[in-house]
């Protein structure tokens, strides 16, 4: 099965499960490879063994490390990046917004909006303040231009990935 890992910046990794070998009811071997530009850039065999209700994994069937058991994950974590995981299909319609679109990077509440529609802003200006986990975060624009539309108002509680403001 082919899996697609896509992060919020649209970086994409394709991972293929090439082979599954069931050694016993407690030990399974998988062959994985990563594909970039139609070429295999990385390939490894992974062994999974169940021991006392826990999953252990190994690359050589000798040295084992415990794994956190998960339901089929929809997200995969890599240090500071969370990838959305799509197994078997690549989602369509995923396009990065224009760089003047301000989206929430985390859920939070709008504390203050410093601009109004029609205002001229410069790159790096703090256009609004978002409060999340008892902290105020200054949201800065990465481009200069005119504030076209403001989709939110002060006091709004927002989810992650919500379009707050468009700048042209």
């Amino acid at each position: 099965m082919r899996s697609y890992l896509i992060d919020s910046e649209q970086n994409e990794y394709i991972v293929d499960l090439r082979k599954t070998i069931k050694h016993s009811s407690e030990l399974v071997e998988f062959e994985f490879s990563t594909i970039e530009d139609n070429k295999v850039v990385d390939s490894k065999n992974v062994f999974i063994r169940k021991l006392a209700g826990n999953y252990y994994c190994s690359f050589d069937n000798k040295a084992w490390r415990k794994l956190a058991r998960q339901h089929v994950p929809k997200k995969l974590l890599n240090v500071d990046r969370v990838f959305d995981l799509y197994r078997g299909y690549k989602p369509s319609g995923l396009s990065s917004g224009a760089s003047g679109d301000l989206l929430t990077q985390m859920p939070g509440k709008i504390v203050k909006i410093n601009v109004k529609e029609g205002d001229t802003v410069e790159a790096g200006d703090c256009v609004l303040i978002l409060e999340a986990m008892k902290m105020e975060n200054e949201i800065k624009t990465s481009i200069g231009g005119t504030v076209k539309t403001i989709h939110v108002s002060e006091g709004d509680a927002l989810d992650s990935g919500v379009l707050m403001m468009e700048i042209e």
Partner: protein, 483 residues
């Protein structure tokens, strides 16, 4: 008072908190034979903190104002459930003097200090004045709130830059900003005030001198209602981001072998606690400069997040002492000499945040497992399926490791971090790993600007680890195959 008459009877204790501290308090209640009553809200139907509570109460609502800060609602619960004492944990109502006073009036024990101590120490201006009167050194700055930005600028110029803008009612690093010049004071004054209003309901600000290359050193205090005040040595909490601690250790590596200095700072803390007739667990925070001069910063009139490292080096149970003190009982500590410290303990705060930007990252825990070396303590509220929402603080656990010497504690912590698996939720474990390996930390010479200056977050390897991706996919496949 009727509280004392029931001294030997089992009590019913309401825990007005959530997460790991609620579990911690419930364990102490169990040990003492008291009944622990826990609270959960509309969006905490699976709350793990109830695991150790004997009784569970559903509080309707999901915002803090409707639940953990809802004094009216809590008073009703207290009456309906024959509660004898309330443990507030940290945060929420733990340093709310009015709440403590209300409970006093109702004849219910507030498991914390008396209301007057909370009031005096909760206000930075009054606490500083009291410390000054008690002969405790304080940092130069304004004793009273500065009303305007013009006045703030005037004070800043008088005591000299750099200065710190602090909320009068602030704590835990919130409502605090360093300013290097007039422009920064002008730019920050309004923002700090606004943060203070929303977080503490009081926008008054102080201006004070910023100590260069400072160490944040605090002394754990425990006192009873009979005037006994003990100290449990110091902790160093210099590794901070946004003025909030992320790694703490006890004892302080900066004080090191200087027993004379250690005794002086601990005795100073006891002196201050005695000056307010303190009667519970508390922490006296000091700032210590390069010259080893120390100044009183504030006193936290609650149990603190990092209390486990003190428990690890002294063998005391501070939560149990708090409960005993609140009911007027003996702390079972014969004298200060009985409190000995051995070894070294380190705590890493595990937070749901981006390890590099250190910004909160709410999300859902899709997998959680531990595989620790011997003797590691992990106070946490994690489980598979936990939703970390933006409504609360991002801390989800506290990893504590101890060794006879500091190097051993670091080695154990490093191994413990390797054996802590949290999936689906961005967390700062990668940052802690880098800190444990980093030279300045290992030398123990770091100061409060460690995160800014040494920048361990920039050394975190963020390359996509294909091996780790395969492992996770393989585990999911194995599960799909029915293994």
């Amino acid at each position: 008072m009727n509280i004392r008459l029931r001294e030997s009877e089992p009590k019913r204790i309401l825990i007005v908190n959530r997460g790991e501290i609620a579990s911690r308090v419930a364990k102490a209640c169990r040990e003492l034979g008291h009944t622990a009553v826990g609270i959960f809200t509309d969006n905490e139907m699976n709350a793990a903190h109830l695991e150790f509570c004997d009784e569970w109460i559903h509080m309707k609502g999901s915002t803090n104002a409707e639940t953990y800060l809802n004094v009216e609602g809590l008073l009703k619960i207290i009456k309906d459930n024959n509660i004898d004492g309330v443990h507030p944990g940290y945060g929420f109502l733990s340093e709310n003097g009015a709440f403590a006073k209300t409970l006093e009036k109702e004849g219910v024990a507030f498991i914390g200090p008396h209301a007057e101590a909370i009031r005096v120490m909760g206000d930075k201006a009054t606490s500083k004045a009291l410390a000054r009167d008690a002969g405790v050194p304080v940092v130069p700055g304004t004793a009273e709130a500065v009303p305007t930005v013009e006045k703030a600028l005037e004070v800043a110029q008088e005591i000299g830059y750099p200065v710190l803008l602090k909320a009068v009612a602030g704590g835990g690093g919130r409502g605090m900003r360093a300013c290097l010049n007039d422009e920064e004071v002008k730019a920050q004054f309004e923002a700090v005030g606004r943060e203070a209003v929303s977080a503490f309901g009081n926008g008054d600000l102080l201006v004070e001198k910023l100590i260069v290359n400072p160490h944040h050193i605090e002394v754990q205090i425990m006192a009873d209602k009979n005037g006994n005040v003990f100290h449990f040595y110091e902790r160093e909490c210099s590794i901070q981001r946004r003025h909030q601690k992320i790694v703490e250790e006890a004892p302080s590596p900066f004080i090191g072998e200087d027993e004379e200095l250690r005794k002086r700072i601990c005795d100073t803390a006891v002196k201050l606690a005695k000056a307010v007739n303190y009667d519970s667990a508390g922490t006296v925070e000091f700032i210590m400069g390069e010259d080893k001069n120390f100044y009183f910063l504030e006193m936290n009139t609650r149990i603190q997040v990092e209390h486990p490292i003190t428990e690890e080096i002294t063998g005391a149970d501070l939560i149990i002492c708090m409960i005993q003190s609140a009911f007027g009982e003996d702390l079972q500590i014969p004298s200060q000499e009985w409190i000995k410290k051995t070894g070294h303990a380190i705590e890493c705060r595990i937070c749901a945040e981006d390890p590099i930007t250190m910004l909160p990252a709410p999300g859902k825990v899709t997998g959680f497992e531990t595989n620790f070396p011997q003797g590691v303590r992990f106070d946490h509220c994690l489980y598979r399926g936990l939703d970390v929402t933006p409504d609360f603080d991002p801390m989800v656990g506290k990893l504590v490791a101890k060794g006879l010497v500091r190097d051993v504690a670091i080695r154990k912590m490093r191994a413990a971090l390797d054996g802590l698996y949290i999936e689906g939720l961005k967390n700062n474990i990668p940052l802690h790993k880098v800190i444990m390996d980093e030279e300045e930390f290992r030398e123990g010479s770091y100061t409060t600007d460690y995160i800014k200056k040494v920048a361990p977050q920039e050394r975190i390897n963020t390359d996509v680890d294909f091996g780790s991706v395969y492992k996770k996919l393989a585990a999911a496949e194995a599960r799909n195959m029915g293994m």
